[in-house]
Symmetry: C2
Subunit: 459 residues, 2 copies
């Protein structure tokens, strides 16, 4: 009987395992999944909502229990078990039970590396003080909630204004804590352009977050080994608690030591079927390098949607089917104090870096027909290639009902549509759902008018 070993039993790993099981019976394929943490298959993206009390209990984030995997899928799931080495030559991994300390080698025929990502931790003075939290895995969240409830901190500093940073800032405000947010960029959420990021700043200020933008964190002040303030170039911010939201990097140490090649983004290299350069070894999720369909370059994007898709693709393929992961277009969404924020494709900086000549427009519209109760304001920004009019990227900031419209532009990007083609799209319309010209179509129209004007000037 063949044996599949899965290293890392979260979204990517367990999607791969489940798909493999759909295609291969327990009598033909044994599946063992190792997970360092105490939980498998949970929604990491739900952590800020758990911390903020929007989601009441940690168990709600768990999509499937270990028992369900064992009983319904006959997947042997080993929690609290760390894989410390992959030996490609021997085709075996070395495992260590974190609780009992037991160590052993487990052979494999096929292997899925789904080791995820690790938070970027700054190498700054005081960075190892107690009171400084990352929120990468569910166990981190549990520790943070324990601190919030036990120590009753009054002031928190969130370092980094990306998606997780903003979501954590709101979560802490919901807990009644005074929150400062420090970000080195001119506006938070650096994956947006500055004009759209400014709208996010407004939302944060309305929420009551003290914003310190364009400031770098230089270190953490401690008193008796315990955090007491965050030092930036400009000031010292008193803090009982720090949450790090500086992003993540692919967790590839195991893979690299085993000789599995990684790419320019430091993620594991795979082909479109999620197979690595090593025979019978697959990789999926936050530890792999992806392909950006718009820039045409390698990309590292740690997101549950890609992890699930890549895991599914790996599982189908190693189970004997055929599936591909044809890249991503950089879609993301979040919500800050009732303000929805979404983006897809390239922002202006990314478009310039990829070598595109581009133009951009911002339009303001409403989520429903202007006269319909509940119509809320929203802004759409579109970035298009000069001359061709090809859509390169889009950003949306608006109130309830705004952000999910980014999906229309994500599908348009996927299909290499021009803004002219987008103006013709047959999108759904009724007054409770949209103005007669959907805001994304208005933006495409305006972008196309600008493309036309630019072409006329070129003549």
């Amino acid at each position: 009987m063949e044996r599949l070993v899965v290293v890392g039993a979260d979204a990517a790993g367990m999607s791969a395992a489940s798909q493999a099981r759909r295609r291969r019976t327990p009598s033909s394929l044994q599946i063992i999944a190792f997970e360092r943490g105490r939980h498998a298959s949970y929604s990491a993206c739900g952590i800020p909502y758990l911390v903020g009390g929007v989601v009441g209990h940690c168990g709600q984030l768990i999509a499937r229990t270990p028992e369900a995997f064992r009983d319904s899928f006959q997947i042997d799931l080993r929690l609290s078990t760390e894989v410390t080495e992959i030996d490609i030559g021997r085709r075996a991994i070395h495992a260590r039970d974190i609780v009992t300390g037991r160590e052993w080698w487990e052979g494999f025929d096929q292997l899925v590396v789904a080791t995820g990502a690790v938070p970027v931790r700054p190498a700054l003075p005081g960075a190892d003080a107690s009171g400084i939290y990352g929120v990468q895995v569910l166990d981190d969240a549990a520790k943070l909630i324990q601190a919030l409830e036990g120590e009753q901190p009054r002031r928190a500093v969130v370092v980094g204004g990306g998606y997780i940073g903003l979501e954590m800032a709101e979560a802490l405000i919901l807990r009644g804590i005074r929150v400062a947010l420090v970000d080195g960029g001119p506006e938070p959420m650096g994956t947006l352009d500055r004009d759209m990021g400014a709208l996010v700043s407004e939302a944060l200020r309305r929420l009551g977050v003290d914003l310190y933008l364009g400031e770098r964190v230089l270190g953490f002040e401690t008193k008796g080994g315990r955090l007491c303030a965050v030092q930036t170039a400009e000031r010292s911010l008193p803090a009982d608690l720090v949450v790090l939201g500086l992003g993540v990097r692919p967790n590839t140490e195991l893979a690299k030591r085993a000789g599995i090649p990684t790419g320019v983004t430091t993620g594991i290299l795979t082909d479109r079927r999620m197979h690595t350069a090593v025979d019978g070894v697959w990789a999926a999720g936050d530890c792999v390098e992806s392909f950006h369909r718009v820039s045409g370059t390698p990309a590292f994007v740690a997101l549950g949607t890609h992890a699930n898709k890549q895991g599914r693709v790996a599982g189908i393929n190693l189970g004997g089917g055929y599936a591909t992961f044809p890249g991503l277009v950089g879609t993301a969404v979040t919500k800050i104090y009732g303000v929805e924020v979404a983006r897809t494709g390239l922002n202006e900086t990314e478009a310039a870096r990829a070598g595109f000549e581009f133009l951009s427009v911002v339009v303001e519209s409403t989520t429903r027909a202007g006269y319909f109760p509940g119509a809320r304001p929203m802004k759409v920004k579109i970035i298009a290639e000069k001359r061709s009019g090809r859509l390169l990227g889009a950003q949306i900031v608006g109130e309830e009902g705004a952000a999910k419209r980014i999906d229309v532009l994500a599908v348009a990007l996927w299909n290499d549509m021009t803004v002219e083609e987008i103006t013709s799209l047959d999108l759904s319309y009724a007054p409770p759902f949209s103005p007669v010209w959907d805001p994304v179509l208005i933006a495409a129209r305006k972008a196309w008018e600008l493309v036309e004007e630019t072409m006329l000037q070129c003549r």
Copy 2:
């Protein structure tokens, strides 16, 4: 100076006029627009919400006043003026002022026919009784509201369970009237498949509408010229008021008399630039025949979005620019008592009629991550071509946040995507917006699994 005459000054006509003006100054192009009604450029789709009191005042539906057209666009807009003849040979139209009775000929160099649609009125006994209302134009709505407020009807019957019929049923319920709805089909909303239509029936019953399905209306009973009941094959339904929601047909009498060719759907034939078969004569909106991109056949769909787009295209072209209307995919959306309903592409009946071999799946999911507060149930149906897996159509019924997702599938249809390709789409995800697999992706996955199974069986 050249003169453009526009016949019909609603969405299509005024979009054409405005776009023509953007490209041609008043010194090079004179624009005269004739409108039979007392209003121009209003949201006809808003009428049910006006009747239901959701929108407070008729003026809110008017996008632009006649003064705005005159002052900002220098378009000479003549309301309450009927065009009674188009003389292609003389290149002139015959106009009649409905208020003063004055008649005259007005010459044109270019002409836009935007005469809209007329409600289908059944040729049944009693159909001309007072108390029977269509709701095609804003003036109809005003009359109906007057009747509702003046005569205080207690029982209404809505004939026809399409979009307008359902929206009007809800509007009348909101007015405190007892409402019965009669439809000849097995479920209301015949543009959905029966299984999805059944969910609409449930919503209507919860709303308190008495449903009479599979019943044909045979006539209207009157007492002294006034409506008192609706007769179906099965029963007599007492009624103080009837609203007809039997759909519309293209209003092409003027065009046909002028010799402008019409197509199999009885709509005016145009090319992709909205030019008719007659030199210098354009047509746009509910009076034209469109092209269905999925079935590849002519289609008649009266909807504000198409009217606006077609009008814009005609205006750009007659103003000397270049634009096309490349057809539609049959997207529509509405909302009944908190239940959102959307569709795009072909339903099963339409797919069969177009000659496709197809399969279909229905999946149930939620509008947000299952654990997130406010997650509501929704169902997605996908219809795909057997073997190729090409998406043919989709239907969504669900609660708040469900329906606008149809746009993702409308864009996928536009680009001839297969359900396999759709499973890879990079759609936005965060717990307040979606499960990690968006419901439309779950449906595409399930459809693809079925396509694969079917292919294996064929071997």
